[in-house]
Symmetry: C2
Subunit: 198 residues, 2 copies
DNA sequence: TACGGTCATGTCACAAGATGACATCGGTCC
DNA sequence: GGACCGATGTCATCTTGTGACATGACCGTA
């Protein structure tokens, strides 16, 4: 039998990232991942629900920071969510651009991973909305502010990891938030020009 | 060999819906579905990419109506998307509330199906954003208006299928759009009271 | 009627994902 | 030492999903 391996979880995550990058997600079997990490396939499934989860372990950390930020911020719902994402951008993503790009390119190469990412995002949104409701924000407002905030973050994130972008994620979030406000503000009535803050 | 069956696709969709409702998604095998429809498992996989797809066949129709509506409407981006969803609500969903409820309850019972639904929604959004860009709407505005519109639709839809709701989907969409505008409008400056249309 | 296409389907085989049941090893507590 | 326990390995099995090939129905043509 193979000797016991410390930090099986970390080793498996690293092995999975490497293999997905080298051969692609579909071309990598769970047995391959386990072999590279020096553990059994069964151990992989005890630590991760399925093959995709090996790529999405950071989700819990993200959720924690986000929820905490929401709880601590005192502003209107949408502004609170935006501020929370900006905090996450600083604390978690700022110095991990390269990793983010690798992960993103792996995800883009597999529909299965795209689905999983959407679900993770959705679950994150649910947590944020809960945090907002816990502060007394109404049901509908909490949902809409959260979803809008998530949209802003997603678009900003996509720009951030796109090649040839030198802006910081935090800046991009601010820009996209402003754009979203402009786009959803009351329709310009047939009058000549409506004054909007830009 | 089993006799040939007309409309294999329709039979399989119906069989899948029945079985998912009776036993749940996980407890139903593709072989079960095929057997009830009177065809072979292999035929199922030729008509549907995977087990989940049997529940999501209407997506293409939806996308078509939506894109057409966007192309034909002449208004600001966000308003265009909202109007398009309202048209879909009238033309497709209005008289299918019961079916929508059954489908929804099946989806809620399976994480895999939730993932697939999110992807379908995402793909729908991409199509709408493309339609918007085709009308000359800028890249960012198209994305943000679309995502916001989709959010409005999703929230409205959730209310619509919730038990004890008697409003029409179209009305709910209008309400949620107004709410979203209110939530994302510029933050109330420290001034006493900001006037907003409610 | 016979012939040759083509298209959908059935049949068989199989890799990979995922899970349950059980054995085993290392350490811990008494 | 010996009982206990948690993490791991091993084995068996089911299900998903796919490739390769055979068959049978249908269609136009000679």
């Amino acid at each position: 039998m193979t000797r016991w391996q410390p930090d099986a979880r970390g080793r498996l995550e690293a092995a999975a990232l490497e293999l997905f990058r080298e051969r692609g997600f579909d071309q990598t079997t769970v047995t391959d991942i386990a072999a590279r990490a020096g553990v059994d396939k069964r151990t992989f499934y005890r630590l991760f629900g399925d093959k995709r989860e090996a790529l999405f372990s950071g989700g819990k950390l993200l959720e924690g920071v986000l929820v905490k930020a929401v709880a601590e911020t005192d502003a209107a719902p949408f502004e609170t969510v935006i501020a929370a994402f900006q905090r996450v951008a600083d604390e978690i993503f700022a110095d991990r651009l390269d990793l983010a790009r690798v992960r993103q390119s792996i995800i883009e190469g597999s529909p299965e991973l795209q689905e999983r990412e959407l679900r993770k995002t959705s679950s994150l949104a649910a947590a944020v909305a809960d945090a907002l409701r816990a502060k007394g924000v109404g049901e509908t407002a909490a949902t809409l502010a959260t979803e809008s905030g998530v949209t802003v973050f997603r678009v900003a994130f996509a720009r951030w990891v796109a090649p040839g972008c030198d802006a910081s994620l935090t800046e991009l979030i601010a820009e996209m938030a402003a754009e979203l406000r402009a786009v959803t503000s009351a329709p310009a009535v047939p009058a000549p020009n409506a004054a909007t803050l830009t």
